[in-house]
C-alpha cells in the first residue's frame, strides 16, 4: 500500500491536478482529500474489475477443460462417420501390430446343418468423389482403372471433371481394392462402407433362404422370417438343411421334371422323428443372388405355398383315422363298386381288376377310391373333420417361412357326405406338400405329429441353450422333437406295414430301393383348370415315401406337376411311373450321406417282420365289416350301387376323380 500511496502523492498527474486546483480559491483541502480518496477508490475498483474478468475467464477455462478432456461429450457416430472409415485402412498402429481387423458386418451368416455357408454378407465399398477437390481428373481416372479393371475411363473422367460436389465412381468394390485406392492417396476420393449379401450356392435352397433387398432387409424365406435375429446377433443361423441332401433332391427332381416335361416339381426330405427338414426344393427355382430378376412363378415356393389335392396319398390318413378310431380293422373289407354322387361317379381306374370287396391292406395297396370312400363314410363327417383338425390339415403348417399357405378346405357347412367321400381319397381338399409329409411322418414315427422346422435342433444357439453351461464331455443331447401324440404306437406299426406293402406289392413298386425297405403311398390327382373343372389327363402326381420301414428315419416326397407320358411309363402319368422312380433314386443316393447303408443281408428277415397279409384272417368271434355289414353306408347309396351293378355299364367317362 505504501508504494501506491507514494505513487498517488508523487505521480506527476496528481501533482498537476493539485497545481491546477491551486488557482481556484474555493477548492479547499477537504475537497482535495476527497479527490484523492476518489482516485484510490477508482484504482481499487479497477483492480476488482480485473479480478472479476479473471474469474469469468477462469470459469470459461474450467468449462473448456470439462468439455474437452475431463468429461468430453463423444461425437455421434454419424457426425464423424467419414473420419473413421470402416475399412481395414492403412492405420499405422494396426499395420505395426499385424492387426488387420475386418470391418463389422451387421447381418449374420446362414449355414446348413454341417456348417456349409448358405448366405453370407461380404464387406464392400462404394467409391465416390468430390470433383471440386480433384486436382487432375485424367490422372485419377487412369490410376483408378489400374485397380478397377471394369472402370470406364472416359465416363470417370467426365464425372471427375464435372462441377458437382458428389459423384459415384464405382460400386461394390472389394476391401482389397479399397485399400489399394486408399493407398493412392488421392485427395477428393471417398469410400462409403457397405455390405452385400451373397449366396455362394446360387440356386441351391433359394426358396428356403429367400433374399434381401438393397438395404439388407429380408424380403423372402428365412431371411425375412429371421430378419431381426440375423441383424441382432452375428452368430450364424444354422438351418436343418443338409446341402448334400438338398443337392441330390434338386438334381433328381429336376431330372424327373425334365424327363417328364413337368411344369413344376417339388421335393422334400424330412426327419420323421425331429421334424427337421433336410431338403426342400421347388422347381422352377431362382438364384438368390438375383432374386429381383426372378419371375413370380420361380419365386413361388410350391412346398409350402402350393396347394394341391393330395390324391391317394391321403388314403393313408383315411386309414390311419379309421384304425385309430377303431371304426375299421385290418381284416375288414370294403366294396369297390363305383359310387354315384349326384352327377359324379366315384370309381377306380381299373375297376374290372378288382373284386367287389377288398380287404383294408388291399384297399391301400391297389388304391381303391370307392373302398376308401366307404371307410370315410364309416367314420362320418363330424369325426373326420375333428380328425383333420387334430392332424393340422385345416390350418397353416407351422414352418419358419413367411411363405406358408393356408390349405383349401371345405367349410363346415359344406362338409357333407360327398365331401366325406372325396376327402377319404384325397380330393375336394388342397394341402401343401409339407403338410402331407408332416402327416405321413406322424403315421410312421409312432404317432407323434411334429412341428416341421428349418432350424437345426442340434445347434445349441437355435435352442436358446446358450445360457446353459456347455459340458464338452457330455454326449450330444438328443434333439428333442416338439410334437403331440395323435396315433397309438400300435396303429403306427400297422400303418408302417401297410406302407411297405404298397411298395412291395402295390402301386409304389417303382419306389423300392434294395436294402432300404422303402414304404410309401402314391397319389395322383387331376389338375384343376382355371375355369374350375378337372382337366383330363393332366395330373399332379406325388409319391410320399418313408425309409427304412423297419426303423423309419426319413420321409421323402416328390411331386410332379403336369408330367407328360413317355414310352417307359406306357402312357401313364400316374405317380407310380414318374414320382416313385425319382424317390427311389433319391433314397439310393441320400441314404449313405445320412449314414444309412442298404441292409441286404437281413433283407428276408426284415421283410418278413414287415409283411402283412393282403387278406388278414379275421379273429374268432368278430364280425368283420364286409358284404352285408357296412354301417357307414348311407341308405341312399345302396339303391345306387345296386343300380350300378345291374347296369354293369358305369358311365366311366363321367367320373370326376380317379386314383391309382
Amino acid at each position: 500500500m505504501r508504494y501506491r500511496d507514494d505513487r498517488n502523492q508523487g505521480s506527476p498527474r496528481a501533482q498537476e491536478r493539485e497545481n491546477r486546483a491551486e488557482p481556484q480559491p474555493h477548492v479547499n483541502i477537504k475537497k482535495k482529500k476527497k479527490n484523492y480518496n476518489r482516485m484510490d477508490k477508482t484504482r481499487a475498483r479497477l483492480l476488482i474489475t480485473a479480478c472479476g474478468f479473471c474469474c469469468l475467464y477462469g470459469a470459461v477455462s474450467f468449462k473448456l477443460t470439462m468439455a474437452t478432456i475431463l468429461m468430453p461429450l463423444a461425437p455421434q457416430k454419424q457426425q464423424i462417420a467419414p473420419q473413421v472409415p470402416a475399412i481395414p485402412k492403412s492405420d499405422p498402429k494396426g499395420v505395426m501390430s499385424g492387426d488387420f481387423a475386418l470391418p463389422q458386418i451387421k447381418r449374420a451368416s446362414i449355414i446348413d446343418r454341417n456348417g456349409q455357408i448358405l448366405a453370407i454378407s461380404l464387406p464392400v465399398a462404394q467409391v465416390y468423389a468430390n470433383p471440386l477437390e480433384i486436382i487432375d481428373p485424367a490422372d485419377v481416372s487412369k490410376k483408378l482403372k489400374e485397380i478397377l479393371p471394369k472402370l470406364d475411363v472416359n465416363q470417370t473422367y467426365e464425372r471427375l471433371s464435372s462441377k458437382k460436389q458428389f459423384v459415384y465412381l464405382a460400386r461394390d468394390i472389394s476391401p482389397q481394392q479399397e485399400v489399394a485406392i486408399n493407398n493412392l492417396g488421392i485427395p477428393g476420393l471417398y469410400f462409403e462402407a457397405g455390405e452385400r449379401r451373397r449366396y455362394p450356392l446360387g440356386r441351391l435352397a433359394s426358396h428356403i433362404l429367400g433374399s434381401v433387398d438393397i438395404d439388407d432387409h429380408g424380403i423372402a424365406g428365412v431371411e425375412k422370417y429371421f430378419d431381426q435375429r440375423l441383424m441382432d446377433t452375428r452368430h450364424p443361423l444354422r438351418l436343418s438343411i443338409d446341402t448334400h441332401v438338398q443337392t441330390v433332391v434338386q438334381e433328381e427332381v429336376e431330372a424327373a421334371k425334365n424327363k417328364f416335361q413337368a411344369e413344376a416339381a417339388c421335393g422334400i426330405v424330412m426327419d420323421v422323428h425331429t421334424g427337421e427338414i433336410l431338403a426342400m426344393i421347388s422347381l422352377p427355382d431362382y438364384d438368390s443372388n438375383q432374386f429381383s430378376k426372378a419371375p413370380p412363378n420361380s419365386r413361388f415356393n410350391r412346398a409350402t405355398t402350393g396347394m394341391y389335392e393330395p390324391g391317394s396319398t391321403f388314403k393313408l390318413q383315411n386309414v390311419a383315422m379309421a384304425l385309430e378310431l377303431g371304426v375299421a380293422h385290418i381284416w375288414d373289407r370294403f366294396a369297390t363298386a363305383p359310387i354315384r354322387v349326384g352327377r359324379f361317379t366315384i370309381k377306380d381306374l381299373r375297376t374290372d381288376h378288382f373284386p367287389p370287396y377288398l380287404s383294408l391292406p388291399e384297399v391301400m395297396a391297389y388304391s381303391s377310391n370307392p373302398a376308401s370312400a366307404h371307410i370315410g363314410l364309416d367314420v362320418g363327417a363330424e369325426r373326420q373333420r375333428e380328425w383333420m383338425q387334430r392332424m393340422g390339415f385345416l390350418a397353416r403348417v407351422p414352418i419358419e417361412l413367411p411363405e406358408s399357405g393356408r390349405p383349401i378346405v371345405p367349410s363346415i357347412k359344406n362338409w357333407g357326405i360327398s365331401t366325406v367321400m372325396t376327402i377319404a381319397f384325397g380330393h375336394g381338399i388342397a394341402e401343401s406338400p409339407l403338410a402331407i409329409v408332416r402327416g405321413t411322418a406322424a403315421t410312421v414315427n409312432g404317432g407323434i405329429l411334429l412341428k416341421p422346422t428349418l432350424l437345426s435342433l442340434q445347434d445349441i444357439s437355435n435352442n436358446d441353450l446358450s445360457q446353459q453351461p456347455v459340458d464338452n464331455n457330455a454326449p450330444t443331447p438328443q434333439p428333442k422333437a416338439q410334437g403331440e401324440r395323435v396315433l397309438s404306437e400300435k396303429t403306427s406299426e400297422t400303418l408302417r406295414k401297410i406302407l411297405r406293402l404298397d411298395v412291395t406289392k402295390g402301386t409304389g413298386k417303382n419306389g423300392e430301393v434294395p436294402g432300404y425297405f422303402v414304404g410309401g403311398k402314391t397319389g395322383t390327382s387331376e389338375k384343376v383348370s382355371k375355369s374350375g373343372g378337372y382337366l383330363k389327363h393332366v395330373n399332379v402326381s406325388a409319391f410320399t415315401a418313408v425309409f427304412p420301414m423297419n426303423d423309419p428315419k426319413y420321409a421323402v416326397y416328390v411331386m410332379l406337376d403336369s408330367p407328360k407320358p413317355t414310352k417307359e411309363t406306357h402312357g401313364w402319368t400316374t405317380a407310380g411311373w414318374n414320382a416313385a422312380p425319382a424317390v427311389s433314386k433319391i433314397i439310393g443316393r441320400i441314404g449313405p450321406i445320412l449314414n444309412l447303408f442298404p441292409n441286404t443281408k437281413d433283407a428276408a428277415t426284415i421283410d418278413a417282420q414287415l409283411a402283412i397279409p393282403l387278406r388278414p384272417p379275421v379273429p374268432r368271434g368278430i364280425r368283420p365289416l364286409g358284404p352285408g355289414n357296412d354301417p357307414g353306408d348311407p341308405r341312399l347309396n345302396r339303391p345306387e350301387k345296386n343300380k350300378e351293378k345291374s347296369k354293369k355299364k358305369p358311365s366311366a367317362k363321367a367320373s370326376s376323380t380317379r386314383s391309382q
Binding site: 482516485m39 470459461v60 468449462k63 473448456l64 468439455a67 474437452t68 460436389q165
Partner: protein
C-alpha cells in the same frame, strides 16, 4: 524494443515508440487465429448457404485487413479527437440503430442490420464503443462546463438506447451495454447501493425479458433443462469440443464442425476446440484475458479519470463480448448471439472491435500532452520526462 531511432520524430515513429506493444502483439495474434479459423469454418458454411467459399474467405480477409488498418489509424488519434469522434459517433449510431427499426434487414427474426452493397451493417456494434466513451466524458468532464451532473444525461441516453435495442430485439447487445455502463459507474466510484440497485434492475429486466420475449425464454429454458427440447446447436458444439480433446483433430480434420450451425460466427470457438484442441483454446482465452487485465492494470497507473473510464468501458465491452461468446459456446451461459472478437466472421463485428481496440490503444498510449504539463515533468521517475 522499438527498433526505430529515437531521433526519428516522424508520426509513425512516435506512434511506434508510444504504443503498447504487448497489446498490439496480442491483437495481431487474435487476427491470425481469426484467419486460420475462418479457413476452417467457412467451407462448410459456404456450402450450406450456397455461397462460394472463395468469396467467403476473400471477404473476411478484406474485413480483417481493414480492421488492422483501422486499429493502426485510430490508435494514432489523440484523446481529444477520439472524444469528439465518439460523441458524434454515438449520435449517428443511435440514429442508425433507430433506423433499423424502420428499414432494417430481417435476419433470423431480428431487425439489426442495414443492408449495404458489400455487407450488411449492424449499427449497434458501433454504438457500444462510442457510448462507452461518451459515458466516460459525461461522467468526468461534463460537469466542469455545465454544472449539471453528467450521470443523468448518460442515463437519459442509455434509456433511449434501451428502448431501441429492446425493440429490435437485441438483448445480448443491451446486456453488454448495460454491463459496461454499470462497470463504468462502479469504477467511477458510485455508491455501492446504486451499483447493487443497477444489478438488481438488470436481473429484474432479465426476468422481465424472460416473461415477455419468447425467444429469450426458450433459450433460458434450454439452458436450464438441457435434456428437454431442442438443444441441437449447443449439443453439437460440445461434441465438437469432445471430439477435439487436448490436442485437437488437426487443421482441416474437424468433422462435427460441418454440422455446426453458425460455425463461422457464433460457434467459431467450437471449431477451434475440435481442430486445435484445448491447448489452443486455452491460449485464446488467455490472450483475451491478457488484453483485458493488462489494460485494466495499466489504467491503475493512469490519473486522468476520463481516460480511466473510457478505456475501462471499452475493454469491459470487449472482454464481456468474448466471455459471452465463449461461455455460450461451452454451455456456461444461455446461448446468446455474440461474435468472438477478431475470430468470428463478420464485417460489422470486425470493424467495431477494431474501433474499440484502436481507441483503447490510443487512450493508453504514452502521450505528449498539452504544453501546460511541461513544467511538471521534472519528476525523476516520470516516464514522460524521457519522452520529450
Amino acid at each position: 524494443m522499438s527498433g526505430i531511432s529515437r531521433s526519428d520524430n516522424s508520426l509513425l515513429a512516435r506512434w511506434w515508440r508510444n504504443i503498447d506493444h504487448w497489446m498490439l502483439g496480442s491483437v495481431g495474434l487474435l487476427i491470425g487465429f481469426g484467419y486460420i479459423l475462418m479457413m476452417a469454418a467457412s467451407p462448410a458454411v459456404a456450402q450450406r448457404i450456397g455461397a462460394s467459399r472463395d468469396v467467403f474467405i476473400f471477404k473476411q480477409v478484406m474485413f480483417l485487413s481493414i480492421a488492422a488498418l483501422t486499429i493502426i489509424f485510430i490508435s494514432m488519434l489523440s484523446t481529444q479527437t477520439i472524444k469528439k469522434l465518439s460523441i458524434v459517433g454515438t449520435f449517428i449510431a443511435i440514429l442508425a440503430t433507430a433506423y433499423t427499426l424502420v428499414h432494417g434487414m430481417d435476419i433470423k427474426g431480428a431487425k439489426r442490420w442495414i443492408a449495404l452493397p458489400i455487407m450488411s451493417l449492424q449499427p449497434s456494434e458501433f454504438l457500444k464503443p462510442c457510448f462507452a466513451i461518451c459515458t466516460a466524458w459525461l461522467l468526468t468532464e461534463w460537469k466542469k462546463r455545465f454544472y449539471i451532473p453528467g450521470i443523468f444525461i448518460a442515463l437519459g441516453v442509455y434509456a433511449v438506447i434501451l428502448f431501441i435495442l429492446k425493440s429490435q430485439p437485441d438483448i445480448g447487445m443491451l446486456a453488454v451495454i448495460t454491463a459496461v455502463l454499470l462497470t463504468q459507474l462502479f469504477i467511477n466510484g458510485l455508491n455501492m447501493f446504486w451499483i447493487f440497485s443497477g444489478l438488481g434492475g438488470m436481473i429484474a429486466a432479465f426476468v422481465g425479458a424472460y416473461v415477455v420475449l419468447p425467444h429469450v425464454r426458450s433459450r433460458v429454458e434450454r439452458f436450464l433443462h438441457p435434456e428437454v427440447g431442442d438443444h441441437y446447436q449447443i449439443d453439437t458444439a460440445l461434441r465438437a469440443f469432445g471430439n477435439g480433446g487436448l490436442w485437437g483433430r488437426g487443421p482441416g480434420e474437424g468433422r462435427v464442425k460441418d454440422l455446426l450451425p453458425d460455425a463461422h460466427a457464433d460457434f467459431v470457438f467450437a471449431v477451434a476446440g475440435e481442430e486445435y484442441g484445448m491447448i489452443i483454446c486455452c491460449l485464446i482465452i488467455f490472450i483475451f484475458c491478457f488484453i483485458v487485465v493488462r489494460t485494466l492494470l495499466k489504467l491503475i497507473k493512469e490519473d486522468d479519470p476520463f481516460i480511466i473510464l473510457a478505456a475501462s468501458g471499452l475493454i469491459t465491452g470487449f472482454g464481456l463480448q468474448a466471455f459471452i461468446n465463449m461461455g455460450s459456446t461451452l454451455h456456461l451461459i444461455p446461448t446468446k448471439g455474440m461474435t468472438l472478437p477478431f475470430i468470428s466472421y463478420g464485417g460489422s463485428s470486425a470493424l467495431s472491435i477494431a474501433l474499440t481496440i484502436g481507441m483503447v490503444l490510443a487512450l493508453t498510449r504514452r502521450r505528449i500532452e498539452a504544453p501546460q504539463f511541461f513544467k511538471n515533468n521534472n519528476q525523476p521517475f516520470s516516464k514522460r520526462s524521457i519522452l520529450r
